[in-house]
């Protein structure tokens, strides 16, 4: 039982990382119908920025906060410079642009920081702590706290602030939002900024365990895409729940189902997702409600 709980918590930690990136994907998809395949690479680049700051002697948490701020600015710039010219193009075109961005950022990171693997520090010690007989890693608990904290902050922004309301309205119904005085273009740019912030969190949280290199976000992106689809692609809550579930599921599969081990985790997880989608095609939290055209 103690071991099981430990595996669950450890799964929640990776799940929180998937959930952050999945939420980033959902935010952009909900507003623009575009699946941003470059979300992981944007996260990777921001993680390099954090690494550079730390490498120059800036403290971890200051680097963390600065990186989130820079990620926001970077996300806005990506929208304005790369995505906006394609805003009236078919969605498929815009998706191709994000794949191009993926390749560009990957190459750029290798060119700037070299593709040699770097160690990325963790804010939390790997020291285990004992809670009523169950041993947790402080690192896992820290990752859960940070990723869920950022996600909760974002939910609060969307739910309780005027800017959050405008962001949601602009995503749901740009035409009516404009008539109400909302600068929709700026809201879309801000959405890209917020998505980049979420990505930065996932990058900085995953980097200590997978090490920093230009390809480090690829598996995370796959899991995050899976979580986003499983959650319903347009549902932020769905992305969060599906991300956490997926993290826990993968961890439990690896730990308790012998033939799965570490090699078969991804295919088995994807098979389970496919099975769920067969039963609920719109995802766990998606609605099949007809889209207005």
């Amino acid at each position: 039982m103690a071991d099981f709980l430990q595996q669950v918590v450890s799964g929640l930690a990776t799940g929180g990382i998937y959930a952050s990136l999945a939420l980033a994907i959902v935010l952009i998809h909900r507003a623009t119908r575009v699946v941003n395949f470059a979300q992981g690479e944007m996260a990777m680049v921001t993680t390099y920025v954090a690494w550079t700051l730390i490498d120059h002697g800036v403290s971890y948490w200051l680097s963390f906060v600065l990186t989130l701020a820079l990620a926001f600015v970077g996300g806005v710039l990506v929208h304005q410079a790369v995505m906006r010219p394609f805003q009236d193009a078919p969605v498929v075109t815009a998706v191709m642009v994000t794949i191009g961005l993926f390749i560009l950022l990957n190459g750029l990171a290798a060119w700037i920081w070299s593709s040699e693997v770097k160690a990325f520090p963790s804010a939390f010690s790997t020291r285990p702590i004992d809670v009523g007989g169950v041993v947790f890693s402080l690192q896992d608990l820290g990752v859960i706290a940070v990723s869920l904290g950022v996600v909760a902050g974002l939910f609060a922004l969307f739910r309780f602030t005027k800017a959050g309301l405008a962001l949601r309205a602009a995503a749901f119904n740009p035409a009516t939002s404009r008539l109400a005085g909302v600068p929709v273009g700026r809201m879309l740019a801000a959405g890209w900024g917020l998505a980049a912030v979420l990505g930065a969190v996932s990058g900085m949280m995953v980097a200590p365990s997978v090490f920093l290199d230009p390809n480090m976000m690829r598996p995370v992106l796959l899991y995050a895409l899976a979580a986003a689809v499983l959650g319903g692609l347009d549902s932020p809550l769905g992305a969060l729940v599906a991300g956490l579930l997926l993290g826990v599921l993968l961890n439990l599969l690896g730990a308790y189902v012998d033939f799965v081990g570490t090699d078969l985790r991804l295919p088995v997880a994807l098979a389970i997702i496919l099975a769920v989608l067969l039963v609920r095609p719109a995802g766990l939290f998606g609605s099949v409600a007809a889209r207005r055209v």
């Binding site: 005027k162 309301l165 405008a166 949601r168 309205a169 749901f172 119904n173 035409a175 009516t176 939002s177 404009r178 008539l179 109400a180 005085g181 909302v182 600068p183 929709v184 207005r292």
Partner: protein
């Protein structure tokens, strides 16, 4: 005296299709004006050009200021509230969130007063503030679109076919509220209406559009007496 809204030589187009061929019209402060015409005459397009939602050419002045090149959100913030055809609410948001959205350009401290003012006309909106707008009836959605537009504290309210698809009693209700806003609060209203009888009852003046041009204009009384208007639009 300069009018609140002055439109001169206005053209509007959808892609390569030009739907308006040089319209000239004006709305004075506190006036209620109707635009009549058959389907495709350019009524809806006229409102869209004023609110800046489609490409347009010509002079559009609001409160003496040229708004012909401003984006729709800037025009809204100047005090032009446009409740478009087919509602104009965000279905995914709640009733209260739609009203808050309408107040986007207003200072936060004004919200309570603005809400009270709108709730005086539509008491149910406060009671059912948590309901999703998409689950409202057609009439309620039209009311909410009007409520959302009023939260902007507009100087000019533009309504596009508010009666479309609604039960006669709901339409009466809606027009009663719009008339009250116009007469008691001095809100200028520009309304597009297929139902010419209804429009001419409420408005003081009207324009009749045909093929993207102003075919006739005059006071409601004049137009009601006009032989061709009577035959083409009033049907008696």
């Amino acid at each position: 005296m300069t009018a609140l809204l002055e439109v001169d030589g206005l053209t509007g187009s959808y892609g390569s299709f030009t739907a308006l061929h040089g319209i000239t019209l004006a709305v004075q402060e506190g006036e209620m004006v109707a635009i009549l015409g058959a389907n495709g005459a350019g009524k809806t397009t006229t409102l869209r050009t004023v609110s800046g939602t489609i490409p347009r050419r010509g002079r559009i002045a609001f409160g003496g200021r040229d708004i012909g090149r401003l984006p729709p959100d800037r025009i809204a913030r100047l005090g032009v509230a446009h409740a478009p055809e087919g509602r104009g609410t965000v279905a995914e948001l709640t009733v209260m969130e739609n009203l808050r959205l309408g107040a986007y350009s207003r200072p936060a401290r004004a919200f309570r007063d603005d809400l009270q003012r709108v709730a005086a006309y539509f008491p149910w909106m406060e009671r059912r503030g948590g309901q999703q707008a998409g689950t409202l009836s057609g009439g309620e959605q039209q009311m909410l679109a009007l409520g959302r537009a009023l939260m902007l504290r507009p100087r000019l309210l533009m309504l596009d076919e508010p009666s479309l698809g609604l039960a006669p009693i709901v339409v009466q209700d809606l027009y009663r509220i719009v008339r009250t806003l116009n007469r008691e609060e001095g809100l200028a209203v520009l309304t597009v209406e297929q139902n010419a009888m209804l429009a001419l009852e409420s408005a003081t003046r009207a324009y009749v559009l045909e093929g993207g041009r102003v075919a006739l204009e005059g006071s409601s009384a004049e137009l009601r007496g006009n032989e061709s208007v009577r035959r083409s639009y009033l049907g008696y």
